[in-house]
């Protein structure tokens, strides 16, 4: 558990420094696993947050909507320099890939119909499915702790993927049941 009053030992970095550090991470965190890059950059290299705080902020990032990487940028930026720190952190994080993916759209409109580039893209799509499954297993190994958790996860997945339940309904209904299941109790379950 982190203490909100425990601030990093070093003085808070400037807004420009926050933007730069997140820009570098946003440009170099190749190939997914951006949380790993964040941990190295923020905890080890910059010492802006300590280990316990990082884990705490990560659990908030995963619970709230929004991507883990951008939520982490906002939470860390806010701790360092308030709302403006949060804004510059997320801008730096997103700017490199925003430019790249916009450029990719234009490149796609020029060469996307070429059968050779289609063959390449079909291949990387298959590889990306493997990556998504790994991300799911890693997330699952952290949050699925009791048999009931597996039931909630599988029921949610089946409702959306097999029975066509819209994501927001599945999200609200399953969360309500799952949160209630884990409701605070005075006595431990036997």
């Amino acid at each position: 558990m982190s203490d909100p009053a425990s601030v990093p030992a070093a003085p808070a970095p400037s807004l420009g420094r926050i933007f730069w550090v997140f820009l570098v991470m946003g440009a170099t965190s190749l190939g997914g696993g951006v949380v790993g890059y964040l941990c190295t950059g923020l905890v080890v290299r910059q010492r802006w947050v300590d280990d316990a705080t990082f884990v705490d902020l990560l659990s908030i990032s995963q619970t709230l909507p929004g991507l883990n990487a951008t939520n982490m940028a906002i939470l860390v930026g806010d701790r360092l320099r308030g709302a403006r720190g949060a804004l510059l952190a997320i801008l730096g994080m997103c700017l490199p890939s925003a430019i790249l993916m916009t450029a990719a759209a234009f490149a796609y409109s020029l060469g996307g119909d070429d059968p050779w580039s289609k063959a390449f893209l079909h291949g990387i799509a298959a590889g990306a499915v493997g990556l998504v499954l790994v991300v799911m297993v890693q997330l699952g190994s952290k949050v699925l702790k009791t048999p009931a958790d597996y039931v909630f996860a599988l029921a949610t997945a089946a409702a959306v993927a097999l029975f066509g339940v819209k994501v927001p309904y599945a999200l609200v209904a399953a969360s309500a049941v799952a949160v209630w299941w884990h409701r605070p109790r005075n006595r431990r379950k036997p």
Binding site: G66, L67, F120, H122, G127, V132, D149, A161, V167, V179
Partner: protein, 180 residues
């Protein structure tokens, strides 16, 4: 103008579903951009999503690509702001509140409950993605090999994914996998 409004509405809505990661919103992303608005085809969506996995930074920056396909640079900008502003403000607000809730009795309940549901949403997204991306045994095999490689080792995911792209080209050349 109508298109920019649609882009803003779609991506602001989708952003609120990304609990546990971008994949959680994938089923609705597919429904809205492919079936409802016809901005991209399903293969195009899969291609942009996969390219987005190769790019550095957050893994859903392909929303900029879809915005750009629909309405050029303004479309990309609107998609990005719509996708990040609502959840960003929410995170900022709740992040400040959450640290004050360290001792709140329901906090672990919310984290544990939402955690298992988010895994389920990501699984559903992966399933729907797989239905579109895995045409035959070759593509299933590639996905499985990438899965086990990344699960066991600490290699950069970009390498095996690009290798899959090369195998896709080889398969096309050898005419193993007629796909479209």
């Amino acid at each position: 103008m109508k298109q920019l409004d649609d882009i803003a509405g779609v991506f602001a809505y989708l952003s609120l579903l990304t609990v546990g990661g971008g994949m959680a919103a994938f089923p609705e992303l597919k429904t809205l951009t492919v079936d409802t608005y016809h901005w991209v085809t399903f293969p195009e969506l899969l291609h942009f999503y996969s390219l987005g996995q190769l790019a550095p930074g957050p893994n859903m920056m392909m929303v900029a690509s879809i915005g750009a396909v629909v309405a050029g640079i303004p479309g990309a900008l609107v998609a990005l702001v719509a996708f990040f502003l609502p959840t960003g403000l929410l995170t900022l607000a709740v992040g400040r509140l959450w640290t004050h809730l360290a001792a709140w009795r329901w906090r672990p309940s919310v984290e544990m409950g939402m955690g298992s549901v988010s895994v389920g949403l990501v699984l559903a997204g992966a399933f729907i993605m797989g239905r579109g991306a895995l045409f035959n045994w070759l593509y299933v095999a590639m996905a499985l090999v990438v899965f086990f490689l990344l699960l066991r080792g600490r290699i950069n995911p970009a390498y095996p994914i690009v290798a899959c792209g090369v195998i896709g080209i080889l398969a096309h050349w050898l005419d193993i996998a007629r796909t479209a």
